[in-house]
């Protein structure tokens, strides 16, 4: 019986992230629209868009290979798994031992690899530009992400997210400079990874400035729906990650009562809403940076991560 419940709760988490992801994207868009004095579409609009895309015919370029067709499924699968592994409303779930930070980074890396290949596959110049820019950003964002992982695992003694969340809930953490640096670095990486302003503009119509949008320019129909959903999942993943590591309060632990789970879900929703609001606020207040300044931006994230890890060593040895 307990096993069934465990499976059920884990299943709930997987469904929850899938169902919430478009809402989060819609929420950020709504807030952004209102900050620009526009009424904006309903936060439910991304669901309608996905349904519309699913019903539409998927057109393929003549030069598209099998890779172009399978890439959306691979990307979507990798990101769904990654997003479902991050503890959202409860920690210590059935699969929590797989929720390893390094595994998540690897899943994100594979999704990106396939997306970049798909961008190159059709052979259009925009796809090529997008893939080359994406790889440039990735080559800087991934080391920064790993430095953050080092800092956190040094502190918590594990790379397992559930355990990190549990550790953060204990009193012995206290206020640490390393944590603040890691938080800052993770936010910067999250912005770059999710193609948000100032690194990329998710709402742009200017082909020449696109990064993520340029790679998916040739996709249509259900393929595009999967890619859009995957992008929403990625945003949700990073907000969940920030929530579970830095504000784990309210999270239930596995095997607790249903009420605890409900409180966990409510707390999780609150964290997402807050994260989405702050993201919209930040994006409205800043212009996009030049492509060649992204390396400085992510270099700063890398340095912050490195500094966080170093500070830990220094404070340990004392």
């Amino acid at each position: 019986m307990a096993l069934i419940t465990d499976y059920l709760v884990q299943g709930c988490q997987m469904l929850l992230v899938l169902l919430l992801a478009p809402l989060l994207t819609g929420w950020v868009r709504t807030i952004k629209a209102q900050l620009l004095r526009r009424r904006g579409p309903s936060p439910l609009q991304p669901y309608r868009d996905l349904l519309k895309l699913l019903r539409k015919e998927a057109l393929l370029a003549d030069s598209a290979s099998w890779l172009f067709r399978v890439a959306p499924y691979l990307i979507f699968a990798a990101l769904w798994v990654a997003a479902a592994l991050v503890p959202t409303f409860a920690s210590g779930l059935l699969f929590s031992w797989t929720a390893d930070l390094i595994a998540i980074v690897a899943l994100l890396g594979s999704a990106r690899f396939f997306l970049a290949l798909a961008g190159l596959d059709v052979g259009t110049s925009f796809g090529g530009i997008g893939s080359s820019r994406e790889m440039m950003i990735a080559s800087l964002a991934e080391p920064a992400m790993l430095m953050i992982v080092f800092t956190l695992s040094l502190l918590a003694g594990t790379t397992e997210l559930s355990a990190i969340a549990q550790f953060m809930l204990t009193a012995e953490v206290g206020l640490r400079v390393s944590l603040a640096l890691a938080l800052l670095a993770l936010i910067m990486v999250a912005i770059a990874e999710n193609a948000r302003i100032p690194v990329d503009n998710p709402a742009t119509h200017l082909e020449l400035t696109m990064v993520h949008e340029a790679m998916v320019l040739e996709y249509s129909g259900r393929h595009l729906a999967l890619i859009e959903l995957a992008a929403s999942l990625k945003l949700l993943l990073y907000l969940s990650l920030l929530g579970c590591i830095f504000i784990p309060w309210g999270m239930a632990t596995a095997g607790e009562s249903w009420t605890a789970y409900l409180i966990g879900v409510a707390a999780y929703l609150g964290k997402l809403a807050l994260g989405g609001f702050l993201l919209a606020l930040f994006e409205t207040s800043i212009a996009k940076m030049r492509v060649f300044r992204v390396d400085q931006f992510l270099g700063a994230a890398l340095m912050l991560g490195l500094l966080g890890a170093l500070l830990l060593f220094v404070s340990r040895s004392r």
Binding site: S125, I197, L206, L208, L217, I286, A287, R290
Partner: protein
Amino acid sequence: MSAAASLQVLLEAGQPVAGHRPWPRIVVTTELWHAVIEGLAGGGWTLLGLWGEPGMVHLAAHEAASGFIGVASLPCPDGCFPSVGRLHPPAQRLERALADLVGLQPIDAPDARPWLDHGRWPVRHPLGAASAPAEATSPYPFLSAEGESLHQIPVGPVHAGIIEPGHFRFTANGEAVVRLEERLGYVHKGIEALLAGAPLERAARLVGRVSGDSTVAYALAFARAVEAATETAIPARAHGLRALMAELERLANHCGDIGAICNDAAFALMLAQCAVLREQVLRASAACFGHRLLMDSIVPGGVATDLPADGVHLLRALVAEIRRQFPPLVELYDNTASLQNRTASTGFVRPDLIRQFGCGGTIGRAGGRDFDARRQPGYPPYEQLKFEIPARTDSDVNARIWLRIGEVEQSLALIEQLLEQLPMGPVCVEVRQPGQPCEGVALVEGFRGDILVWLRLAADGTVARCHPRDPSWFQWPLLEAAIENNIVADFPLCNKSFNGSYSGHDL
């Protein structure tokens, strides 16, 4: 003939044409034509336009030192004329367009490729001896750029956003642009052919639609050319109302542009706020003159609608409202470091190129070319108004934004002065029947730059031939120069800061 000789003195050697007003048109010999080209290439004069009709090619030039404007006409019975573009590059695209439309061939032209005619028209040379198009058209050869690891990026003519069509061929080395070549002509509407033989009323409507965002300036230029040709004097109140409309149009477009440029740096906040300002101007325009963009509000002989009784009050309220809302936006632009970082030093155009091309509007004035048709040659009622022409020399995207900001402030001041001094009286008179063929030319400052309209009226008062020249003709080529040494991703920013007209250019 040295370039130091004055254009006026030079042209006196030719045969002046009777009935061409207000500036002379002179039929020149081939020797004089060459002298004019050398003068243009020497930098003393600025090319204002180059157009043709069967058997004749016309060239309008302006001498900044004396303010003299003259049109030189070269008869070319054998269908060709000495190329202007050979020595004076700004004329190259005008020549190619002329060859496409009229069929007159420039001799020794450096670029013999077609320009407006993409081989898809049902006729060849629609303004000359129209003939059936050639069966097979060869692909358009783009200029080459050679080097290791260079790659081409074709952009357009259909873009991801809803904008006008134009093709841009980038040759890039990674992100760095090595060469940009434009290909325009996708929105050719055959306006010049439609204008030939059109009655005045229809012609005015057509010219007002050459480029929709400059409809007031175009209508004003056409009306002034007609009035010059027919020697019609219009009432003082019409002059005032025309200037009022022109400044409203400038205000609306500059507000829109400031926001749109910032939006291309993904700073949507500015676009949203500036769009509110633009909308307020458009609504006030609709309330005062019955059309948001003021289309067909200016007609030959005056204006179509008088300002209603509450118009003065409405426009004063508009000026006060923009005066209240605009300064915080300027401050926002000035204080947003991330935005300044994108605009400053991006898209620099060399001032010597700006002078050579006679590039007008905000692009020219941001690059040290202090030319404004409202000042020189000037037209009423601006000589009675106090206004400054903002000018800068840094010539980058940032400079062009600041120039627009300065012009918004000047337009507001001009609207206030106009409302104060608006004379009473009629707003429209009948255009005088010419009785014999006559010709007129006018130069008017639109928000984009100086618009030239030349026309010939038949004895019955219909338009025999009309050529509107958009300011973009001398701005598009400079965009190619502006993007050099920039990165591909900065092109939209440069392009928006130019905001050239596709429609006005493709005609």
